[in-house]
Amino acid sequence: MAVFEPEAELATLDIEELGGEVAGRSPWALAGRRLLHNKLAIAAAVVFVLIVAVSFAAPLYARHIAHTDAFTSNLSGTFRLHGKTIQVIQQGTGKLGLGETPVAPTWHAKYFLGADSQGRDVATRVLYGGRASLEIGIGSAVLASVLAVVFGLIAGFFGGWTDALLSRLMDLIWAFPVYLLAISLATVLLTAPNGLRIGFVHLNASSLWIPLGIIGVIYVPYVFRPIRGQVLSLREREFVEAAIAQGASNLRLIFSEVLPNVASTVIVLLPLMIATTILTESALSYLSIGVQPPKASWGTIIEDGQGLLYTRPWVAIAPGIMIVLTVLALNVLGDGLRDALDPRSKLRMKG
């Protein structure tokens, strides 16, 4: 495998920043060291890992702490707090006794963040919602990246008609506004009477794979473009020509010479893509065309909370905070990865 050697400026920068010898170290090792020295990026990574961990621990929280089922309506339910029996949904006060309001945050194990309008524990749903949002966000970003890398390598390496065809296909997807395309696809797939059936694969309308697939597909062009551009450039580099002169096959050229050199781009883009896909998933779920109830995602919980903004704002605020923290962490981490893997950009900025 041939990889660009760090240039002299980069070596100087590394020596300044990393405070040690850089000669003989692989670019990946140097990138790793650069990343570890970026405290903000590490903090962001820790926050993201924590969010992932608590979200995936949702069933444990529901079973052992909140003692509740996050997906079952509990409109007529009661629970005990400080020795008192409390209705989960409480009749309005006031002269006319109008309205029904879910219980407010108790800041205790049960109904820590209060209940939603179905009488379900908001804290538990936020954790389950995080799990769904992260699964879809990460899954669709990975799907988009994998497809984009495959198409980008093929288009950039072979060029000609193959490139033209794939590039126009990506242009076609890109030509649609992201949300409009996602809404159109989701509406069709969610209303299909028997779900989605492709060959032996059958997905019902409430499957998480549907939003995951939709979001993954619509973001392929956003990764495809930079990958293809980089492959076009790499194809002309000396080390590729040298490999060709040695009789390397196309497959070998793609996987051994080109792919390793675009990997850093994908790694830099991935956290940013995850942040974007989480936001897209939340938006689609908020519009009722992403995750389907009674399943939860941060978007669906915000939708549930919208009608309770005046009386129970935490229902909407809690998932909102989780989205902000996650996206912020991923963006900071993405910046850190970019600085670590592509220090020239930092040099350019310094210059």
Binding site: S73, G94, G99, Y310
Partner: protein
């Protein structure tokens, strides 16, 4: 009348076309306490209503099928007869409007002869004549888009042919107008116990001869105390006084109080509440958001009026598609349903009452009946009976079946859907929610091609007649296979029950009281077959500004806007 939410009774016009019904509903008015009106005020001033959007569909009074426009049309136009314009149960009475008296039908209920009042003028200055009546009914068919022409008015001799070929519509045998004698005679193909009700709704409001036989973009001149001055769907509707109006019947068409009535569009529910609270608007048309109810209840109780409606909210089983083609499965789900939980979703016991049956309380033919409760017998629902439900579902052998719960995406209706997904999963089914946009959900459910298993719907009376619920929603002829205009979404058709309905319809022509006893038996028989989970009967919450006086709630037309005073 089908409605999507308590206040937004905008029936998707083209969707329910050819079906039944539209109108108001309810029983007696009550201001959360008991009265249905505030003290009357003086005439004058501008009444300002606010709404999210203009009435859906067409502004043409012979096409429009929304409460929102009908609430205004009743004081710009008149029918031959009218529902008495007062609050309370009196408001369901039919009284003479453009005619001098209500005739007794002859020829076995097939002929009605009306005498038209003299001296009544349209807002364009032309005098009303019997020939205008004939012209109106010809136009009703000729415009070709009137939703109920083929289901309500085709009973007029020649009506069926007019529905088939509107352009060549000829009612010479069905409507005979004599300008010299001031009479109009209707000949029907069969006795219709609801014919007078159908003459009292806006489709049959009289328009002047010469009104173009094409969809109007603003309601044409009428005979009421107001006329339409502006109809801008993006901005507002404006009604001003009709200078040619002279009072002829306080019961049918009283003079209005405000000089000008404006309905402004484009405000969210939240903004509407705030405007009424601040006195910037006098009344909000739409449903106040659930989140603001407590605030209204606490700070503005004197401005809130709550009145029961003759309406029912329900989930319809498809009785021809598994698993609910099984009676025990349907009954099991009915027993398991916690109707109090559904009432909570709707806004609480002050805004809705649980029900198990088809007909709403206070409606002709209503007799309280609820078998699907713990301790049945009182006719009232008290609590779910989960043990019995589980037993029935186990016996049905349907456990484990996949069920799609279809509802629309509005907050309350989606919440109903979520509740049933949760309940069905608890009962051993594999339930999923299918929430569709409110615009497409109802026609989607109606079309048997879609094989919808369990579908949310609601129905508001068009006029006070039991058949408007039982026959329209559960009659054999109202299931139209593969059509998006098939109001019998349960696809329910039980021949002996249909025979009972036909008998009640026949009795009703000459003996409405006896017919109502028969309808009560039909209601019970249908409820036992469990084609629906009847959930609740809603109440209507009106929120008015401090300066509004003389609030009256008609069971037929709801808030009588023109009878309120803002002076």
């Amino acid at each position: 009348m089908r409605a999507r939410s308590l206040f937004l009774l905008v029936v998707a016009l083209g969707l329910t076309a050819t079906l039944a019904a539209c109108g108001g509903s309810s029983k007696s008015g009550s201001k959360t306490t008991t009265s249905n009106s505030t003290s009357a005020g003086a005439a004058g001033g501008t009444f300002l209503a606010v709404a999210k959007a203009a009435p859906s569909g067409s502004p043409d009074p012979q096409i429009d099928y929304t409460l929102q426009e009908w609430q205004l049309l009743i004081f710009t136009h008149d029918g031959l007869v009218a529902f008495k314009r007062v609050g309370g149960t009196e408001g369901t009475k039919i009284v003479p409007d453009l005619v001098t008296s209500i005739p007794n039908p002859t020829d076995g209920g097939k002929t009605y002869t009306f005498t038209i009042r003299k001296g009544i003028k349209f807002s364009n200055g032309k005098e009303l004549k019997p020939s205008d009546v004939k012209y109106t009914f010809l136009r009703l068919f000729k415009i070709g888009q009137s939703p109920n022409a083929g289901s309500w008015y085709n009973v007029i001799v020649g009506g069926d042919a007019c529905v088939k070929t509107p352009k060549t519509c000829n009612l010479d045998q069905g409507v005979i107008a004599d300008d010299a004698k001031s009479t109009v005679t209707f000949h029907l193909t069969r006795g219709d116990p609801e014919f007078l009700d159908k003459l009292a709704v806006p489709f049959a409001f009289i328009l002047p001869t010469g009104t173009p036989n094409k969809e109007a973009q603003i309601p044409p001149p009428g005979t009421g105390p107001y006329k339409w001055a502006q109809y801008n769907t993006n901005k507002q509707i404006k009604l001003v006084r009709n200078p040619f109006f002279k009072l002829w019947s306080t019961d049918a068409q009283p003079a209005g109080n405000p000089d000008v009535i404006v309905e402004k569009f484009g405000l969210s529910d939240e903004a509407q509440v705030t405007e009424v609270e601040n006195g910037q608007a006098d009344w909000m048309f739409d449903t106040p958001p659930a989140d603001r109810l407590n605030e209204m209840s606490t700070k503005y109780p004197s401005q809130v009026f709550i009145n029961p409606l003759t309406a029912v909210y329900y989930f319809a089983f498809n009785v021809r598609v598994p698993p609910f083609n099984n009676l025990k499965a349907r009954q099991g789900v009915n027993y398991a349903t916690d109707r109090n939980a559904l009432v909570k979703i709707y806004g609480g016991p002050k805004l809705a009452t649980p029900t198990c049956q088809i007909l709403p309380p206070g409606f002709p033919g209503y007799k309280a009946y609820c078998p699907y409760t713990k301790n049945p017998g009182s006719g009232k629902w008290t609590a779910p009976d989960l043990a019995k439900a589980r037993q029935l579902i186990a016996a049905s052998g349907t456990k484990g079946a996949t069920v799609k719960v279809n509802t629309d995406t509005t907050d309350v209706n989606k919440a109903f859907g979520e509740y049933f997904v949760s309940l069905l999963n608890k009962l051993g089914y594999k339930a999923q929610l299918q929430a569709l946009s409110a615009d497409i959900q109802y026609p989607y459910c109606q079309n048997s091609k879609n094989k919808v298993q369990f579908c949310y719907s609601s129905w508001y009376q068009d006029y006070p007649a039991a058949s408007d619920f039982l026959n329209v929603l559960l009659g054999c002829s109202d299931f139209v296979p593969n059509s998006s205009a098939s109001p019998n979404i349960s696809e329910f058709c039980v021949k002996p029950i249909q025979a009972q309905m036909n008998a009640a319809l026949k009795t009703g022509i000459l003996n409405p009281t006896a017919a109502n006893t028969q309808w009560a038996a039909v209601d019970k028989a249908v409820t036992d077959q469990a084609p629906w989970v009847s959930m609740l009967n809603p109440k209507y919450l009106n929120f008015v500004s401090k300066r509004v006086k003389g609030f009256q709630f008609s069971p037929q037309w709801y808030f009588l806007i023109d009878q309120a005073s803002v002076k």
